[in-house]
């Protein structure tokens, strides 16, 4: 690496790729830079390690998603002889293009952005890039994913100044963009189960095969099709790839909480808010709002609620940053997610919108909490 370095420095032939070179170098080797001012020692933990830990926490969801995509596919085609590995391989082949598209588009824009500003490449997209394939329905055309990712990275992140500066969760903006720009592809009965083959692997289901998510079924009052809460806990149900298995999500949550990267305050209060609202809705259940028939535990297990609570709400950049603020922020996400899900007939799922809404309010919550500290200080000054 050191040999080719001069090419990339100012005046070198490839000076335009300076950020890319720097990104690659720091990716391969921990930089030998030592501290110049202030503290002489620094912790080993850096942004790369932090981000990669989140990616590791997402792996159970990713692996389960691959298996479940295969499982749903073979269920749809009616093939009974498919083995575990068939299902997994099918899912892998189905998801790989989405992962590649998400990373290539997102990182490509990050690289260009970093080069324009002559900055180091930021690691934030490592996590976003893996979140996107997990929350975008599997049947979404790749070009749509590419357009949505580009939109989100440019307009939700880069224009604000890159990782650490964004107001809204980038992965959720990707999904929201798809959701509102191409609603027909993003919801309904044909989005969530891959019925055709992946790279010629697997069979084709009968034309016009449809299978809705449990929440979709509930919204259309098709209660008999709804799987049991236990199925939803295990996760072998239709849905966005990453969100179906509560078990995989809980493993990820355990990793995030153990390493201390995610805030337990946010996670806990999202679940508390969700359960509280679900209990309230269940107590006042009516046939007009079919989702209110679900008991609170089922509300938590179905749809993207748990995934949003563990991986989306806990994004430290877009969430509340003060301790008290985190309780409020999380609780309201839980409440709004269930509120939208139950009482808004247009959207069978509310987790995404709830997180985005609270992203917008997080700075306000923090402002109030910090203002309390400021007032305390002013009062102290006056009291003397």
């Amino acid at each position: 690496m050191d040999k080719i370095k001069p090419n990339f420095q100012e005046g070198g032939k490839l000076a335009k790729l300076e950020s890319v070179y720097d990104g690659m170098e720091t990716f391969l080797f921990t930089p030998n830079t030592t501290s110049r001012s202030g503290a002489h020692i620094h912790d080993s933990n850096d942004m790369k390690r932090t981000m990669i830990t989140v990616v590791v926490a997402l792996l159970p969801c990713l692996l389960f998603a691959m298996y479940n995509i295969g499982f749903q596919h073979f269920k749809a085609t009616g093939a009974t002889d498919a083995t575990f590995w068939d299902m997994f391989l099918f899912g892998l082949l189905a998801m790989l293009p989405v992962i590649v598209v998400s990373y290539v588009v997102g990182l490509g824009i990050e690289f260009i952005g970093a080069q324009i500003h002559h900055k180091e490449i930021q690691e934030g997209f490592l996590v976003t890039g893996i979140l996107i394939p997990l929350i975008v329905p599997i049947n979404t055309p790749l070009w749509m994913t590419a357009v949505a990712t580009a939109f989100a990275v440019i307009f939700a992140k880069e224009i604000f100044g890159g990782t650490g500066m964004n107001i809204f969760n980038v992965a959720l903006i990707t999904r929201a963009f798809l959701f509102f720009a191409y609603p027909s592809k993003m919801s309904g009965d044909s989005a969530f189960v891959k019925a055709d083959s992946a790279f010629g692997f697997g069979g084709d289901a009968a034309n016009g095969f449809t299978c809705a998510t449990p929440l979709g079924d509930i919204a259309t009052n098709a209660m008999d099709k709804v799987p049991s809460t236990l199925d939803a806990f295990i996760g072998l149900i239709p849905g966005s790839p990453g969100e179906t298995s509560m078990i995989a999500i809980l493993i990820g949550a355990a990793i995030l909480l153990f390493t201390g990267i995610a805030s337990w305050r946010v996670m806990l209060s999202v679940f508390a808010g969700g359960l509280a609202m679900a209990a309230l809705a269940h107590a006042l259940s009516s046939a007009t709002y079919p989702a209110s028939m679900l008991d609170p535990i089922a509300q938590i297990c179905f749809g993207g609620f748990a995934f949003a609570a563990v991986f989306m709400a806990t994004d430290p950049v877009t969430g509340a940053r003060t301790k008290l603020g985190q309780y409020i922020y999380g609780f309201l996400i839980g409440v709004f997610a269930i509120l939208i899900r139950v009482y808004n007939g247009g959207y069978p799922e509310g987790a995404m919108l709830a997180v985005l809404l609270m992203n917008a309010f997080a700075p306000l919550i923090d402002y109030c909490v910090v203002q309390a500290n400021i007032n305390r200080r002013l009062k102290r000054a006056k009291a003397k």
Binding site: S35, G38, H40, H42, D43, N45, F258
Partner: protein
Amino acid sequence: MALIKLKQGFDLNLKGKITQEIVSEPTQSETFAIIPDDFTGVIPRMEKKPGEHVVAGEVIYHDKNDEKIKVTSPVSGTVAEVVRGDRRKILAVTVTPDNKGESKSFDTRSNPKELLLESGLWAMLRQRPYDIVPNTDVRPRDIFITAFDSAPLAPSLKTVLGDDERFLDKAVEVLLSLTDGKVYMGCPTDYTIDSTGAETNTFAGPHPAGNAGVQIANIKPVNKGEVVWTLDVITAARIGKLFETGKVDYDTTVALTGCGIAEPCYVKATMGCSLKSLLDGRLVEDGKEKRIISGNVLTGVKENLDGFLHAPYRHITVINEINKKDEFMGWASLSPKKYSIYRVFTSWLCGRHKEVDLDAKLNGGERAIVLCGEYDKMLPMDIYAEFLIKSIIAFDIDKMEQLGIYEVAPEDFALAEYADTSKLELQRIVREGLDKMRAEMC
């Protein structure tokens, strides 16, 4: 007397601790130096020229803005050189000792404030806000003495103090005459220093419990418009000694610590002595580049062997510059040797309090603040550290003031700087914030 328990903070367990309490005799230093940067807020205007003779306690320079603030020579000898840097800024004033041990005599009956100023001990005090040498026009609300240093590998101030503890009563008496409030003494849990007149508080908890700023914040925080003074118990003893004997004594005991020192120990030394005299023959010879720090690993000043013992410190730390070069994909490392106080590396299996040997590597690139609460965990004050840092970066004066910039000093953020995943230079940011703030307010 109260026991104050602090939860936030962390005690880094570094290799290179002193195991014996024996204080060895010094080697003679061939030069001594006064480094103006140690006296924050004082802009030097020379009173002595190179070649002129000085005795210990005699003025070398005074503050350009306030002639009354003086910095005096630690030894008797000849002023050798005024080392200047960019824009003729004075980097150091060196003195060649004559080994006669002459010392200026002061009249102990004179006005305490004038005696402190004249002897140069005033410049050893610090005031909050701004963490600078105190303004001579303002009478402080209270005075805070910290009786321990909680930084990694820091010397026991009790050992450094030695016999001089007997001068503390006098020091407290003098300090009480300079304030309308109280003199507070912050002690650790393992020993208490009781001085008549001072209010003693015991602090239990990890570093930065020994920082004066943290102690103030937990006793009686500084409000806008108030001024307090801070000093450590060593400076207090010097003040007491001055008022008892009429002489300034810049002799002290220095702890040599860190994994770069063959046998960590205490050595007798004088403020401003050369590091060569302290470290000759004591460094580990293993071919690795060493970082010599005058002070502790968190707040100290980087020096080389030609450097000097900086005025605020009784501590030298030597660590390796880089333990392992060109580490391949360090971010993916599963090695338990990569130490972190977070549980993101396998080193947590060995415990966070295991003795470790840390080098000067930054271990990552500078990033925007992403993770939250990291600073607050390292700062036992009622301050939203992250919001304060952001307001300083944005230089929003109102916000800085509201969020408590008057209560902090750069050293309070040193531990947060170690722990920061975003690798921001917090101490530099806070120092610049304080300087700019002071320029705006004065």
